[in-house]
């Protein structure tokens, strides 16, 4: 499904601030695979996702999605097939537009935008139905502006927007990092439900080691732009956070330093 072959990305090339973010990184993801990504600060996790999404252009290597080379296609074109949820709850929605208007934009993902009415009656019915699945009472607030929602509600909505048209790939960049632990848990649960229900090929970065082990069918650990550990679902069984940290220290030769890392 997703094939990332030897991609490299260096920021500020040739300057004193040169930073190798991705170093010959390769990853193959099968259909419906759900990978969680962990790693320290500056390991290149977000850069990795941004390169797949087309926010940054890669320096070398190639990216294939469904056997199509998307290495150099612009961000908005890739977005037809890639759903994204960002860390910042403000980033995923248009605050000055209503819930149903936001969903309507998401619902035309990949389709030309014409001069037809933005929302039909059938659309509203569908949106209410989908919102009800989030179990946040948003189905009764479709005409309210998104600016009035809490961070957790926005992330749940963004998740719905990213998946309302089934994407070929779902990218989650620490989408619970800015939320309260209890709300984060709920968003994790929603993520799991949607990803499993739709059998979505998913990459989820998380700072929560425990969540990384609990969720997904595979866990990879990144360090200095490389994948230094790759556990499949069988290998993940019985793995503890302590073991993971020990492995990290041994393989990277440094101490794990993610200032937001949650161990428990």
């Amino acid at each position: 499904m997703l094939k990332v072959e030897n991609i490299c990305k260096t920021f500020n090339k040739g300057s004193i601030n040169e930073k190798i973010a991705l170093d010959n990184l390769s990853l193959f993801l099968g259909d419906g695979e759900f990978v969680t990504v962990i790693g320290g600060n500056g390991a290149g996790k977000s850069t990795f996702l941004n390169c797949i999404a087309g926010v940054y252009e890669i320096d070398a290597g190639r990216i294939l999605l469904d056997n199509t080379d998307i290495s150099y296609s612009p961000e908005h074109k890739r977005s037809k097939y890639i759903g994204r949820v960002f860390q910042d709850p403000l980033m995923g929605t248009a605050f000055d537009m209503t819930i149903e208007e936001n969903l309507a934009i998401a619902y035309t993902r990949g389709k030309p935008k014409g001069l037809r009415p933005g929302i039909s009656k059938a659309d509203t019915a569908l949106f209410r139905e989908k919102l009800a699945l989030l179990d946040l009472g948003l189905e009764n607030r479709v005409k309210e502006k998104v600016g009035r929602l809490s961070g957790g509600q926005r992330q749940a909505l963004t998740l719905l927007m990213a998946t309302i048209v089934k994407p070929k790939l779902l990218l989650l960049d620490e989408h619970t990092a800015a939320l309260d632990p209890s709300i984060a848990k709920k968003v994790f649960k929603l993520t799991e439900e949607i990803v499993k229900g739709e059998k979505l090929c998913t990459i989820m970065i998380t700072h929560n080691m425990k969540a990384a082990l609990e969720h997904g069918t595979r866990t990879i650990m990144m360090h200095e732009g490389k994948i230094i550990m790759d556990l499949n679902s069988k290998e993940k069984e019985g793995v503890t956070v302590e073991w993971l940290i020990e492995q990290f220290n041994r393989k990277s030769g440094t101490e794990l330093d993610n200032d937001r890392m949650l161990l428990g």
Partner: protein, 309 residues
């Protein structure tokens, strides 16, 4: 008594002008609020519209002049948008560059003359005289045009394309993540914006039977003032109300200026006053916050005034 009658006539005139400026303000609303881009092209696209309209009216085609003026404004907006999106020039600078370039182009449109008088030429209002509808005919005609534009703009902003446009101003990153080419939405948005501005310029030229190459100077500021006055004074809960608020803001702004002039303000101070109004309106939130924090600080220090530490 005669003074009051002259005031009534003046106010009616300024209402009419205000309605025409409302069309321009709606254009500024699209760039400034909907797309969140401060577009300075407005000053010149207004004059461009006036120039095109005057040239066409002077050869006996006032209505075709309006249509062509709108299209010319759209083109101006497209060029500004291309500078911003494709060449990555800052929006403010793109607008300034287009403003400068259009000045020369406007002169070319006007055949090298700095102004075109339209005395005794048929204009868009000429047919009203034949219908003999009384002294409010012009006003009603203009209200109709404005209402039509507000309704059309409302429906446009409620289409799928309109959604994409509004979301681009709100959060361009999110819109790209949802598969929208934000370059295209910005191009379309600035085209519609400057089209409306040019249309307003076109109507003004025929209304006052006169086009001048420098008649657009300060138009951005008037547009901004109208948008802000409208938003502060009227309800902006729904999109329709917001559009109406902007239109009313423009009319109110014109009335305020008229009354100030009537009270004896020299016309040469007009631009200074406009700038002051906009600066005050833009800084309103900051001033409010400062005032509140000043109050709470003073109340707080009073609480500790007993001298005990």
């Amino acid at each position: 008594m005669t003074m009051l009658m002259s005031l009534a006539a003046t106010l009616q005139g300024s209402m009419e002008l205000g309605i025409i400026y409302a069309i321009m303000a709606l254009g500024v609303f699209i760039s400034f609020r909907t797309l969140n881009i401060p577009d300075l092209t407005v000053d010149s696209s207004f004059a461009l519209g006036a120039a095109v309209s005057a040239v066409m009216a002077s050869i006996g085609q006032p209505f075709i002049g309006l249509a062509l003026a709108f299209l010319a404004g759209c083109f101006a907006g497209v060029f500004t948008a291309l500078l911003t999106t494709k060449l990555k020039i800052q929006p403010l600078l793109s607008g300034i560059l287009m403003m400068l370039a259009l000045y020369s182009i406007n002169l070319k449109v006007m055949g090298g003359k700095p102004n075109i008088p339209l005395l005794n030429k048929p204009v868009m209002f000429s047919f009203l005289q034949r219908l003999d509808l009384g002294k409010y005919a012009k006003l009603l005609f203009l209200v109709l045009i404005l209402a039509l534009i507000v309704v059309l703009l409302y429906f446009f902003l409620k289409t799928k394309l309109g959604f994409a446009l509004r979301a681009t101003g709100d959060n361009d990153k999110m819109v790209r993540a949802l598969g929208v080419n934000t370059d295209i939405t910005i191009i379309i948005g600035l085209a519609v914006s400057n089209g409306l501005v040019a249309l307003a310029g076109a109507i003004i030229a025929q209304y006052q039977s006169f086009a001048d190459v420098s008649m657009g100077i300060g138009m951005v500021v008037i547009g901004l003032a109208s948008v802000i006055i409208g938003e502060v004074l009227f309800s902006v809960k729904t999109l329709m109300r917001r559009l109406i608020a902007v239109a009313l803001g423009a009319i109110l702004y014109r009335l305020i200026i008229t009354i100030a002039l009537w009270l004896g303000m020299p016309p040469t101070d007009l631009k200074l006053v406009s700038a002051v109004i906009v600066a005050a309106a833009l800084s309103m939130t900051v001033i409010k916050e400062r005032a509140l924090s000043f109050k709470s600080r003073r109340a707080n220090s009073r609480r500790y005034k007993g001298g005990q530490v």
